[in-house]
Amino acid sequence: MDVPNILLIDDEEAFVTTLQERLEMREFSPRIAVTGEAGLEIIAAEPPDVVVLDLRMPGLGGVEVLRRIRRGWPCLPVIMLSGHGSDQDFETCMNLGAALYHKKPLDIDVLLESIRTVTQGNIPFG
């Protein structure tokens, strides 16, 4: 795949919309969702190549979204973002099959590198 199809799920709207524009400048066309529920609907409609998922969101939280993605789309890589970053969160996400786990704040180049890595299948998941 040349340009991976990215889905950003984060309740912080200012963050995802700017991130979307910055990724667009880099020739990506990411889709965004500001709730876990909306994210799952987008995935169901047309699965992306990679999901960037915030851990803590009101309503359906990141862990639950991750669990549901695993159930429905076992091969879809998920990169977790967390402002909390406790060891326990990390373990929970990795046990559930997250491809990578990053603490916020995160540099866009690091994120891009992660997206490249997981979409090229360099990291086992599922």
């Binding site: 912080e12 200012a14 963050f15 700017t18 991130l19 524009e21 910055r22 400048m25 803590r56 009101p58 309503g59 359906l60 939280g61 862990v63 639950e64 973002l81 402002g83 909390h84 970053g85 406790s86 326990q88 603490k103 916020k104 704040p105 995160l106 540099d107 866009i108």
Partner: protein, 388 residues
Amino acid sequence: MVHVLVVDDERDFADLLAERLRTRGMEVHTAYSGQEALDLVRALAPEVVVLDITMPGMSGLETLDAVKAEKPSPEVILLTADSTLNTAVAGMKGGARDYLTKPMDIETLVAAIGEAEGRRMESLSRQRMAETAKLAALGELATGVAHEINNPLQVVLNEVGWIEELLLEAKLEESAQSEIMASLELVRSQAGRCKGITSKLLTLRCALDKRGATTCLPDLIQTLLKARHERITALGVRIEENWSQELSGLQVPASEWEQVLANVIDNALDALEAVQSAGAKITKELVLGLRGNIAEGEMEVAVQDSGCGIEEHLLTRIFEPFFSTKEVGKGIGLGLAICHGIIEAMRGSISVRSTPGHGSTFTIKVPMAVHAHNEHNGPEEPASAKEE
């Protein structure tokens, strides 16, 4: 062995009393004046002081005041002659644990010393419990604050990056562009400072105090249930207990587990009460299940209730500090956050499964290595990191 300081200006009396207490297995020192007593309390930190009220120089009551001001302060038993009984009463108000009238029976004194020592242990353990709770709450609060700040920081840094990228395309005058870039770099570096602070906050979790008293879980549960007996009876809750033999024999840090289990049990009782007050017509049996066992290097303790349950969207939030589903005034939302902090400090985990309307189960898992360590009260690191 109880460590006792006998204080009396009559040297023969003090020495004899000390000797008789030593034959009963106590560690005893003697002082013959108030000042000497105070010096020895500071130097030796005895657990119990047996203090004569009538002494020349620094009087018994003055000595009592000075001794009780020391930290940690020993328990004090006053010795009085009949004529000084009023002074003894004043002494009780001043913090003495007990008073005995001279000449007293040695067995009475031994019993009084034993009781004073018991009270001292109790109050120390209460203090430790309060400290444990404070530390855990602080750790949870710090974690919560770090999280709340990291999210806006992410927005700030992302916007800075975005502005920089837009600037490069905007074809501004070179001097204006470099000024704006310098200013953005300043924003970025200041945000970096904040990031440094939040990552420090995230490490500020309480470390376990390894000196504490230990207990076994079934005993601890009995104490907790006894303290809640009235509420349990009033609600008509049936208690189901199931402890594996291995777990019953295991010594665990008392104040940490008491703090955790007291919180979880109180929440379970709240959930059961909610069922009762919601539908008096529904004849649903109220059950509080408590069980524990040891498997695969971990001890696992579960507290289960047939109460109102927790809605799914709240499940991920209930361990957050200051998050509460209870009515205003009934809880400030720190109980489970504290539990979470304590359990995490023991390198364990606490999790919940719940079905709204049917009840909840809180499961606590702690690696055995932590407890093996506490059992010996030794200074060495937990026996094996492999078991984690």
